[in-house]
């Protein structure tokens, strides 16, 4: 027996995909295939392996970029959170980066680093790093004063306090910041493929659009959104399993 909430989710999905199907049959636009056409195209893309090769290529800059921004972002965030002077010096740059439409830097990156992997990794990094660094910094700075005092009063050394108190206390928000960074990284990776050079999934989207194979185009877009959403949801689940009992504070964009 399905629970009420799952039943409603199914119903809701049925409505939306049904509406998509109907709109495609009317059709609302020559460029709007039906849901079933798109899903057929998706299964063909999966069946002949095109999609897997494409993701192999799309995910490379994303993975490399996230690894770099994860290490650098968390590292810088730690220093920002622990040191007031560094906070004053470095934080404003990330604050500006976080509010700014950094996508506008892409033409410049292409000029500087060409149209290869480097540029794409860079795009992922500039999108993902600010949110990771700022959340890490904030989490470290917001460690409850009383548990730090506790560490001091029980004779903890500076490194004891950072390693045994500040870091564990900050880790839920750091992890959540990392998740937001990955979410932004997805945007960067797709943007890079659509704007810099069409490779991977971006290539499927661009190519099928140019030959007016709209079902394949929709299928590719559908697949990347599903992939991102499923992956980010899994991360959120993991977060709840890891830090379930101690959710203090929220990561912010």
């Amino acid at each position: 027996m399905l629970s009420r909430s799952n039943l409603l989710k199914l119903l809701s999905a049925f409505f939306v995909f049904g509406a998509w199907e109907v709109a495609g049959r009317i059709p609302v636009s020559f460029a709007f295939p039906t849901f079933l056409e798109s899903m057929t195209a998706l299964s063909i893309l999966i069946w002949d392996g095109t999609l897997f090769t494409a993701y192999g290529e799309t995910l490379r800059p994303l993975v490399v970029g996230i690894l770099i921004s994860g290490f650098l972002g968390i590292g810088i965030g730690l220093f920002i959170g622990l040191n007031r002077k560094l906070d004053w010096l470095v934080s404003p740059i990330f604050v500006v980066m976080q509010t700014a439409p950094l996508a506008a830097l892409i033409p410049l990156l292409v000029m500087a680093y060409g149209i290869g992997l480097t540029s794409k990794v860079f795009v992922v990094c500039i999108m993902a790093m600010p949110v990771i660094a700022l959340n890490t910094g904030g989490a470290v700075r917001n460690t409850p004063a009383s548990i730090k005092e506790m560490g001091l009063s029980f004779l903890g050394t500076r490194s004891d306090i950072v390693l045994k108190i500040v870091l564990p206390a900050a880790s839920p928000v750091i992890f959540a910041g990392l998740r937001l960074g990955i979410s932004a990284g997805f945007i960067g990776a797709i943007l890079a493929e659509l704007k810099i050079t069409p490779t991977g999934v971006g290539d499927i989207i661009t190519y099928s659009r140019s030959i007016a194979d709209y079902p394949s185009m929709y299928a590719a877009i559908f697949s990347i959104i599903v992939l991102a959403v499923v992956f980010l949801n899994l991360l959120e689940k993991l977060e709840r399993i890891l830090f379930g009992g101690l959710n203090r504070g929220y990561a912010s964009e």
Binding site: I147, E149, M150, S153, F154, L155, K164, P168, A169, G245
Partner: protein, 258 residues
Amino acid sequence: MSETKQISENAVEVRNVFKNYGDVEALRDLTLQFPKGQLTSLLGPSGCGKTTLLKIIAGLIPATSGEVLVNGKPVTGPGPDRAFVFQDFALLPWATVLRNVAFGLELRGVPKPQREEIAVKYIKDVGLSGFEQSYPHELSGGMRQRVGLARALSVDAQVLLMDEPFSAVDEQTRRKFQEDLLSLVQNENKTFLFVTHSIEEAVYVSDQIAILLPRPSRVSEIIRPTGFRNKDKDSIRRDAEYLDIVDKIWASLRTYVE
């Protein structure tokens, strides 16, 4: 008996301590003695600097001038001779009760088997046996403060600094805590410094009550209840001297209540 206690030496001495935050004078020329083996309350309205004074004694914040002696040695920072019990418990939410209680020893570098053995003993002493593997969020407020107390006891410091330890627990639990605290003072040969804003609580548990008045803080009065200290726990609250002292303190504090 109280005679001999009073002539015994002081565990903590505060001498002419000043504390300024910028232009704000938090403590002015504060001098106070805390006799060994006794419980001294710091009582006063909020903003009177009692927590500041306790943290200066703990070595968590420096005094602007003046000195604090613990067992005759000046305080320069936190030391093994003092243990702190926090108002908000200050437990590590990601650690079990066992690790929380052993955490003070962990920071002192005591090897794991030893420190856990000690922790288990104190967990039992505060009545939390069976909860060793629980996490703080699974415990009630009162139980959490027992963890905080066990942590402070397990490092075996001579002086226990308690910052409004019972203010975040409900009234019934609080009464039970106060009774337990009386036995603790009697059984452990330790000195207790106890910050509270509850008049009844201070009178009930203290050998000595220092009344602090605000802006800037100074000691206005020191009261030593003598008559009912050795009485049965249940009859203290009906003791005439107890009631008199409560009334007297209220009379001197009421003008400071906004």
